[in-house]
């Protein structure tokens, strides 16, 4: 009885995907069209699939520079986050019965409720006077901004890890750092994957923090380049859409290959 396929739900869901896919379809066809073709039926396929718009968009937006910046910031952020947040969460999770660590735990996770604008203005003065208005500074700040949520889910995960292995290792003469790197860190693998995915997505797509922190346009990440580009070339839709498509493509390609882990990661993250 319960193994019958629910066709009503299947059909409704398939129809619903139109809402998701239509804007993406539009992006692809406009990116390939010429300005002359825009006056006709917008939804029609382009007459030829040339790459002129893309070549021009790559030049105008200095695409590969922005791509490099985005990749750099994202990788730096993920490395900082995985190495440090897991360590912090481990120390907190194993000492939650102590007042100081309990305070630290709530101190960190309370940041989830602090809106970015409240720290934005002073933070910009501080980072520019300390020479942190660059990509490395952005990576470090990302590490600070993501601490709240990551400590929250890492601590939840460490609590589920059995303590016996650690005790055995300590008896064998391992110190606390060795216990962490050799036993706990590898055991946290599923959570590392979740945290890495969510952090990478957030860092890659982030707009507000780079907008206020980065002062030099050669350091602009992909979203910032789209923002700057929009101000200058707002009327050339074909060029603009080619550049949107280029900016979205790396994540979409990645998604096609790792969507199973992304979806699984978010579900695991939300189940704690």
């Amino acid at each position: 009885m319960s193994n019958r396929i629910n066709w009503k739900a299947t059909i409704l869901l398939i129809l619903g995907t139109i809402f998701i896919l239509f804007p993406l379809y539009l992006t692809v066809i406009i990116a390939f069209k010429t300005p002359q073709e825009m006056s006709g039926n917008i939804l029609a396929l382009p007459e030829s699939w040339g790459f002129d718009n893309f070549i021009k968009a790559i030049e105008v937006t200095n695409f590969f520079n922005a791509l490099g910046n985005s990749v750099f910031v994202t990788i730096l952020t993920v490395i900082i986050v995985i190495l440090t947040h897991s360590l912090v969460a481990y120390a907190i999770a194993r000492n939650l019965h102590k007042k100081f660590y309990k305070f630290l735990y709530f101190y960190f996770i309370s940041a989830m409720f602090i809106p970015f604008p409240i720290i934005m203005l002073p933070l910009v003065l501080q980072t520019s006077s300390w020479g942190m208005d660059n990509l490395v500074g952005l990576g470090i700040l990302n590490g600070v901004m993501h601490l709240a949520f990551n400590v929250f889910i890492y601590v939840g995960y460490v609590k589920t890890l059995p303590i016996e292995l650690e005790e055995a290792a300590i008896i064998d003469g391992a110190n606390t750092f060795q216990v962490f790197w050799k036993i706990i860190f590898p055991m946290m693998k599923p959570m590392h994957a979740t945290v890495a995915i969510l952090t990478a997505l957030a860092a890659w797509n982030d707009f507000m923090l780079p907008l206020v922190i980065l002062s030099d346009s050669s350091m602009y990440t992909l979203p910032l380049v789209q923002y700057a580009f929009q101000g200058q070339f707002s009327t050339d839709y074909n060029l603009a859409f080619a550049s949107y498509l280029l900016a979205m493509l790396p994540m979409v390609v990645l998604y096609v290959f790792v969507q199973k882990w992304i979806i699984g990661g978010v579900m695991r993250g939300s189940l704690k």
């Binding site: 901004m145 707009f207 695991r268």
Partner: protein, 285 residues
Amino acid sequence: MKRDHAFLLMVIPAFVLFFIFHTYPALQGVFYSFTNFKGYGNWDFTGFTNYFKVFQDSRALSAYGFTFQFAIVATILVNIISVLIAMGLNAKIKFRKTLRATYFLPFILSVLIVSYIFQFIFTHMVPDFGQALGIDALSRNILGDQDLAWIGIVIVAVWQSVAFNTLLYLAGLSTVDEQLYEAADIDGAKAWSKFWRITFPLIAPFFTINMVVAMKNFLMAFDQIIALTGGGPGRATESISLLIYRGGFEAGQFAYQSANAVIYFIVIVVISVVQLRILERKEVK
């Protein structure tokens, strides 16, 4: 003893960095909110003057009005749509993996770029379409209309957020025991009562999280707005974040917008706490 030192070594650097780059700027923001600091140069203490001014500032009040209106409507829509999609994706459907992957796609896309794409849809495609079909309601660019622009922002925000909220609901639904539905079937329960009596109470904690997180995120809306309308037409869609950004960086209102940010922070905390209280009370029942 030595172990305690090791644990301290693990947390102290993070604590220091977090304090320097998060707590200290927040405290500074609160400090400057009592001054007339412009972001540069000299300043004096002015007490609560900035705070009184925010409450009399029609631009700030309209930003709060718009942000609340947008956040409430978007939160409700996102949650209704996400529950429906999650239930569909959780059912015994064909192409399950492909459908899940498709519905989750918006989550990985940049809000800014998605907003630019929708801006084209609202300003060019929909009006052209409306004119071709002679439908008056669709022939206008809603983003250019003071009274309707917020609807465009709601549509984009919902389009983007449904993915993540659906995943959270899906996680919730995966914890529900199938046997409960089979028992309900034997009792002859209808779909509607199965939802309200079984599904909804069991995913109530996920409903609470979704409501609070969605509301908080929408109250902080920035990317969608800067890309879709830039706060316009006029100031009809200027959100609080956008106002603080503009006033603070472009108009020399550092101290004044710091006061606004403090009020904004208090508003978000109060709303989140009230939501949690109300929704958690419902959960127990």
